[in-house]
Subunit: 290 residues, 2 copies
């Protein structure tokens, strides 16, 4: 582990350190690329160096993906929002827990029907991969019940989900979060609330698909055609981003622009003030450190 | 404790036993007086001896109240339903957790505003006692957030409830149940689901007002103008009815017509097959046992 925490410049000489000049990257969104009000969709503020960072990655031909925990919107919606903030992100470059779930289903549960407690942001990525989504009336035939963000939980949907789980369906959730930081103060995480309601009623704990579950990094590695341990996760949250990387056996870089601004330097394999500093390290990697 | 479990006929000679011929009674409803499908409101089936039992209590001038855990309807709705099943129950003779909450609020939180996550069955008993119920827009001023049955949980209501609790409001719930037995199989307890959602988001455990919390028996004792320990609770559920009586220091009679048909004889202070047998014991109390 001590090798993992060495400065990036050591990468050339020490295989355990982060080889910043060659590894595929997975970037968190909120607190890493943008700061936004979770309740106000529009006008997120790009963080220092974020736009230049993505542009430089593309120019260097460095493979990367973005990973957010949201299921309130579709991946294309999130991409458009980032584009509107001046970030060069393209369709297919952003993973949500619904995208991760879709990949897990396609590869490990082919043909199995799913009952979704969630809105279009949860449903669309599954439908796009040809997964059979059940109506409420046929929910008891579900192999999996998948909870994401929804504007409300109705008794009818809760009953359908509970009966499916009582009959043996697996219980997956995009999120377990309690609350989100928003400009207007703390805001409840509705997906987490629905998850808790279903968990209470069925006395069943869900399988978490969103961060910090390592599944997203497995899907990212497959998509980037790289071995999992080669991935470097970049994020602002120790309990979510860095923890996920550790669970998956990947390296983790903490950016101090979001949740964990005051984390100790050794909390991740590398800590930087912002993406601007990280870009300097990547560009100057061989020159400054080797 | 052993005295408490003696046969009722011993009451005349042993002060610890249940004096069946004189104590005020609190009766559970579902599984004790009726069997019903929780999803089908109409046509509950009265249980053996239930109609005769209530009629006899009234003829004997024996004080009694009914206590259910439901907040999906108003107390008057529940009374009408029991009347339709042939039971002589009258308005004001049935307590729900919302009635209990209203009494607690009037006596211990006079004038304090309440934010209700619940439908009319939860709201009406509070409004009837003059308690100030807050709209969603003013929920952060609430002293208490009270969860009961509602047909849905919306993000807006969850946000209002969470912000009130984050700002210091107490969190009360009518119910913590996971599910209810229904003719169509198990059905989720929506009040319990909403409770769990709020508890998760706020990381706060609620104060339970419904059974088996002893508060209902305190309110019943006040209403029946009797010392709490004089009350005898009659119900079909060990974990709910008998447990509540124990917590309140009251005697408990188990009727084997509902949830705990196979409980051992000493699980309560007295166990009977049905209310018909219990009525015989009460009527024949002095004659048969003293």
């Amino acid at each position: 582990m001590s090798q993992e925490r060495r400065l990036p410049g050591n990468a050339d000489n020490h295989p355990g350190a982060i080889a910043l000049h060659e590894r595929p990257l997975v970037l968190d969104v909120d607190g890493t690329l943008i700061l936004a009000d979770s309740e106000q969709w529009n006008e997120p503020r790009p963080l220092l160096g974020a736009a230049e960072f993505l542009t430089a990655l593309r120019e260097m031909g460095r493979p990367f993906l973005l990973l957010t925990n949201g299921t309130a919107r579709t991946p294309d919606d999130y991409v458009e929002r980032l584009q509107a903030a001046g970030l060069d992100v393209r369709p297919g470059e952003l993973l949500t827990p619904a995208v991760v779930a879709a990949e897990l289903l396609v590869h490990h549960y082919p043909g199995e029907p799913v009952f979704v407690l969630g809105d279009n942001g949860t449903r669309q990525p599954l439908a796009a991969r040809g997964i059979r989504l059940l109506d409420r009336s046929e929910a008891t035939a579900a192999r999996i019940v998948f909870v994401g963000w929804a504007p409300a939980l109705t008794y009818e949907d809760l009953t359908a989900a509970a009966r499916a789980i009582w009959q043996g369906a697996e219980f997956w959730t995009a999120v377990t979060a309690r609350a989100l930081a928003a400009q207007g103060g703390r805001a409840p995480a509705m997906g987490g609330a629905i998850m808790a309601a279903v968990a209470h009623v069925t006395a069943t704990q869900p399988r978490l698909i969103g961060k910090p579950a390592p599944e997203a990094l497995e899907v990212a590695a497959r998509s980037l055609r790289t071995p999992l341990h080669e991935l470097v996760m970049i994020g602002d949250d120790l309990e979510i981003d860095v923890s996920m990387a550790r669970r998956a056996g990947c390296s983790a870089i903490l950016v101090r622009t979001g949740t964990d601004r005051d984390a100790p330097a050794d909390a991740a394999d590398l800590s930087v003030e912002n993406l601007s500093e990280l870009l300097s390290l990547i560009k100057g990697n061989r020159r400054h450190y080797s």
